[in-house]
Each structure stands twice: as C-alpha cells, then as structure tokens.
C-alpha cells in the first residue's frame, strides 16, 4: 500500500536546501538503445536477428548464438518478480540519501532477466509490468510496476524519483494568451499542481479566455514577456525559487520561407520569441531549478518545450519558422545537459500543425491544443524526454528514422 504524499509544508528557512546528487551514470554506447526507448516511453530490448532471442543487458553479440545482429525492438512488458532486495545502507551518496531502496530481479516472459527498481506494490513471485525510465542522471533504468493499478500508485516514492509528476508542484506556463497555454494551465491544475503561474506579455492587450483564466483557483497571472530579458529576470527574482516545472508555451507561428518575405523583421520576431525567449528563460530560471532538484516533494523537476516537429526537418511552407524551431531544439539539448546535474528533466513535445489560427489554411490532421496539454501532463507523469503528439509528428518521426533525405525532398515539394 502506498501512503499518499502530503502537500509539502512551507520550508524551514533555518535549514539548508539539500543539493541534488546523481545516481551512477556511465553506460555503454550499445545501452543507449534503452535511453532512446525510455526517452519516448517505449519498452525495447535487444533481439537477435539470427536466433530471435531477446537479451539483457545491452550487448554487442548475442549471448545465445554469438551473432552481432542485435537490434533494439519493442518488447513485451510482462514478467515476474523473482526476488527483491532492500538496500539499507548503499555505498553510493545518491541512494544512501534515499534508503531504504528496493530493487529486484524480474524474469521476463520474453526470456531475459532484468535488474529493476521496484514500485512498492510489487511483491515477490507476483506478475509485474516493466517500463524503461530515465533516472536523475538521465540514464535508462528498468522499473517494475504492479500488474494492476493500485491506490495512489503514482505517489510511490521510488516512482516519483523517475518522473516529474505535477502533483503538489508549482508550474510556470510562460504564455497564457494561446489556446495551448490555457489548455496546459487547466490540465496541470487537474493533475494536481498546487500553483500555476501564467505569464502574460503586454498586459494592456486583452485576450480571449482571460476571464476564465483569472477565475481558476490556484492560478496566478504574472507579467512575463519572454522576448524581454528584463521582464524574464524580474519574474525570476520574484518566483524563481518556486518554479518546480516550467512549461514554455511560446507560440509565434508565421508562414513563409526566405525568398517571398520582404526584409528580416518577421524572421527577427521568430528568433526573438522561439530562440532568445528560450535563452532568457533558461538563464533566469535554469540555475535555481538545477539547484533545487532534491528540494523535497516539490523539488524542481522538469522543463517542457513545445516544438514543431519541423524542427527536425524543415517544411519550406513554414521554412523560417521551422528554422527557429530547429534552433530551439538544439538549445534544448544544451539545456538538458546543463540541468542534468540537478536531476531536472527537459521534455520536448513535438507537434505537427496545431488547430490554431496561424495554421488556418493547412489541411487536417491538425493537433488540438487540448491534446498538446494532455501530452505535456502525460510526459511529466511518465518522465519522458521526447514526445510526438498527433499523426503528423509521429509520421515525420518514423519517416526520419528510415530516410531523412526523402523527408527533405518530400516536405520541399
């Protein structure tokens, strides 16, 4: 049984904030197949192309037949908990602080035996369902869940270390003017966030949905214009130590590539919003978040970017916009590495065209803002890094894995 977590009390200002520590990180190159799977929330194991046997841990040759033809494929998740061990005094600083810590051996139905972190409701000899998770070092680990849902199961202490669950956390949604921003606020509140700060740029401009936003309990509207460095640092001075999750809902979409645009002012706006806005947010909020990665139940946990899937492959119809998104994507990888010592995750939510005014003439399928909001919450609850929302984003992901050159040519038609 899980004891539900309690709403954290106010901090004792006489006590030092505990600094984040990291679990052991080194992995072999082959084992980053698990990292990729965990980032996307998939469960993958290596399978031998010659003898079809699944194997674990990651290897360069099949332990059954010595073939080098080992490929990561989606694998069945079910297994049985063979044995469990509770570590009371681990040698490692990270786990010593978190002891007692339970790990166990899981015999997978598909063959191999995995060493896994255990949900508290997993019992020896019982069936379990496996997932791959990114730990506080950003490395993939196996995690065993009970076969069926149990009460308050998301509050499990070890599971919460793997995720960035919004429950009892304080979230900054950077742009509350957009439909995605407003849906994200509602979804995060529904997921149990204690406070959602909502940034509004140029408060002298009215916007749709303003009354609804102001009426929501636990929602605090704050002045934030991410294109303006001072606005961002001023807000961080006020609430930087209270932002546990930052959701960057910046949205600045304009059609057009290079040749049919006159001048550079639209490109500059795109770069100001997508790229420099991100830089301002990261420099203002990143350091405090990295420092607060182990700050109790409402520790700093995650940073979420919403990116166009055309960050991965330029769509010339929205060519300059795609490029600004690619810049933000590259920056997110730097941020991810820089936040890692704090155990703070960076999740990128990739979408195809959204069902918003700026994609009016784009034919369906388009992604509903509410679907993006659900994906954000799901990514936080599951601790994901790379999320593809909707058919277009998923299709681009799959096509890129096969032949990036074909994607370039086909998008450029």
């Amino acid at each position: 049984m899980i004891e539900p977590i309690a709403k954290p009390r106010r901090k004792n200002p006489l006590l030092r904030t505990r600094l984040p520590t990291s679990p052991p990180a080194p992995r072999s190159r082959a084992s980053h197949g698990f990292t990729r799977a965990a980032a996307e929330g998939r469960f993958m194991l290596q399978r031998c192309g010659a003898c079809n046997a699944f194997c674990y841990p990651a290897r360069d040759a099949c332990p059954a037949c010595l073939s080098a033809d080992l490929v990561f494929v989606d694998a069945p998740r079910r297994g049985m908990l063979l044995s469990e061990t509770t570590l009371h005094v681990p040698a490692d600083v990270h786990f010593r602080e978190r002891a007692p810590w339970r790990v166990g051996l899981v015999a997978m139905e598909c063959g191999p035996t995995l060493l896994a972190h255990l949900h508290a409701d997993c019992a020896e000899g019982q069936p379990v369902v496996m997932s791959l998770q990114l730990d506080k070092s950003g490395q993939a680990v196996a995690f065993a869940h009970p076969e069926r849902e149990t009460p308050d199961m998301a509050d499990d202490r070890q599971w919460r270390e793997m995720t960035a669950d919004p429950k009892f956390r304080r979230v900054l949604v950077t742009n509350g003017r957009s439909a995605v921003g407003q849906e994200a606020v509602a979804a995060l509140k529904a997921a149990g966030a204690s406070t959602v700060f909502v940034g509004i740029a140029e408060p002298w401009k009215p916007f749709r949905g303003e009354d609804g936003l102001r009426a929501l309990d636990g929602v605090q509207i704050v002045p934030l214009d991410i294109g303006d460095e001072k606005s961002v640092t001023d807000l961080a001075a006020d609430i930087g130590g209270k932002v546990d999750i930052l959701v960057n809902t910046t949205e600045h979409v304009r059609a057009g590539g290079l040749l049919d645009r006159h001048g550079t002012s639209i490109l500059r706006d795109e770069i100001d919003q997508s790229y420099l806005g991100f830089v301002h947010l990261a420099q203002a909020f990143g350091p405090a978040m990295r420092m607060r990665g182990a700050d109790g139940v409402n520790s700093a946990a995650a940073w979420v970017n919403i990116l166009s899937v055309y960050a991965l492959a330029n769509w010339p119809v929205f060519g300059a916009y795609s490029a600004s998104q690619a810049a933000a994507l590259s920056l997110s990888h730097s941020l991810r590495a820089e936040l890692r010592p704090g155990g703070v995750k960076v999740a990128n939510v990739f979408t195809g065209p959204l069902d918003i005014e700026w994609f009016q003439t784009v034919p369906p399928p388009k992604v509903a803002p509410r679907a993006v909001a659900s994906a954000i919450v799901s990514a936080l609850k599951r601790g994901l890094e790379d999320v593809f929302v909707g058919d277009v984003a998923e299709e681009i992901r799959q096509r890129l894995a096969v032949n990036p050159k074909a994607v370039e040519r086909e998008l450029g038609r």
Partner: protein, 260 residues
C-alpha cells in the same frame, strides 16, 4: 535678438523663471506600442539589454544595448512616415530643418470631452471656440490636443477592443484646416498616434497622418504632462534622433513655460 537676451533666457531657465516641463514618457519595454494586424510588419518593442554592470562583462562600467522601432514611446513623426509626404524635400528626421525643432504651442484642452467619449474627435467648431477665447492660432505653431489620456493605466490607455483601439483624436476636416488654414508646424497628442484609435474608418483614413505629412508637417504622440501647459505661450523643444532617412524617432520633448 542680441546675445544679452539669449543669456537672459538662459538665466531664466537656470533660475526657474522659465519652467521646463518634460512631456516625455520613460522609454521602457512596458509602454504600449501601436498594434497593426499581425500580417503586417510590427514595430520592434523597446528592449534594453545589459552589456555589463560593473561585472565580469565590464568591471568598471554599466551600459546597455537598445532596440526599438522608430515609432515607440514618446515619438516624433516626420513627413516621410506617410505616403502623402514621401516625395517632399527634407522629409526625414535627419534632413528636416533644425529650426523647426523649437516652436511655440497652442494647447486645446478636450480632457472633459475625452473622459466622456473615448472616440471623441476634435473638430473645426471646437478649435474655433478655442480661438474665440485665446486668439487665432498663429502660423508655425504646434497644436497639442490635451485629453489627459496619459494619466490612464496602460490597458485603458491602449483601450483595445475587438474592433480596434478607441482613443480620441482629430477628425479629417480639422486636420486639413489646421494645415491649410492655420499653417500649423505640427500636431501632438497624448495617445498612441496622432490619429484617433478608429481613424482608419475616417475619410481619408488616418487624416492626421495624411494631411500633416502631406503638407510637410510633423506629429508628436504619446506625450504626457500636457495639463501643465498654458493654452498659449509654451515653447516646445522636440529634436528627434538624427537617424539616416528615418521616419520618426523616440525623443525627449520639453516645453518651456514662463514662470507663474
């Protein structure tokens, strides 16, 4: 004028016998700017980006990089800003005659009317009524429209509704008349723009821009403290930045007023 009078004037400024009134809002990122439909190019907002502040980037000095559009904050419109003034000589801020940067002003107080009606339009009869009290507007004077709009909070100041901005300004007839019949040097307002918020629906659209700049005259907008000026007798100092081929510029607008 002999140099003695000029020194007398300088002495009066120094002693406070001539009051210097600052008609300028602080240039800051928070100040509202003109909003065009999103498919048009937009004025870059004011950005103040620190280069160094006695820190690792510059241990002994503090300075900033600035970005802003020509038409942000309290600003000046040159004739080249509008299509009607595009072919005039010396029509940009770098070429306009420096003599024009110092000129007297007539201040027409319509604050009561503007308080009642955000779409208040200045008309010829209102100016004629003003002239009955204060005399005919002399040539090469500024006409400044006082509405007390500058005293509002930013949201009410911009006053954007789903059919556009609602702020006071001049009607088309009075603008033509001020330029052609009164030979004003320019027209100034407290609001965002020399034209009313709904002036796109007047004939011609944006008549202040149309007639002022077509006639080689100037605009001043986003001014404050007009309530501290007398109806006549103030002298306006308005020197825009000397931007190459510039259509306008933020500037410091000062009024000189004889002491009380």
């Amino acid at each position: 004028m002999d140099s003695n009078s000029l020194m007398q004037f300088a002495g009066a400024v120094a002693s406070g016998a001539v009051r210097v009134v600052d008609l300028t809002f602080t240039l800051s990122p928070d100040f509202p700017v003109i909003v065009l439909p999103p498919e048009f190019g937009q004025a870059a907002p004011v950005r103040i980006q620190k280069i160094s502040q006695y820190d690792a980037a510059g241990p002994a000095w503090y300075w900033n990089n600035l970005t802003f559009g020509e038409h942000t904050g309290t600003h000046f419109d040159a004739p080249i800003h509008w299509f009607t003034g595009k072919d005039l000589p010396d029509n940009s801020v770098d070429t306009l005659p420096v003599r024009d940067m110092i000129a007297p002003a007539c201040v027409i107080d319509c604050s009561a009317e503007a308080a009642k009606d955000a779409d208040f339009l200045l008309s010829i009869p209102i100016v004629e009524a003003w002239e009955k009290r204060h005399g005919k507007i002399p040539p090469r004077h500024w006409v400044l429209l006082r509405t007390d709009w500058s005293k509002k909070g930013w949201r009410d100041y911009a006053n954007l509704k789903d059919d556009g901005a609602h702020t006071p300004g001049p009607d088309a007839a009075v603008m033509r008349w001020l330029v052609e019949e009164r030979n004003v040097i320019g027209f100034g307002t407290e609001t965002i723009g020399t034209d009313a918020g709904q002036a796109g629906h007047l004939d011609p659209p944006y008549p202040a821009h149309h007639f002022l700049h077509g006639g080689g005259r100037y605009g001043l907008q986003c001014m404050c403290n007009l309530d501290q000026l007398p109806p006549t007798g103030a002298v306006i100092f308005a020197a825009p930045l000397k931007i190459q081929n510039g259509s306008g510029s933020p500037l410091r607008v000062l009024a000189l007023v004889a002491g009380s």
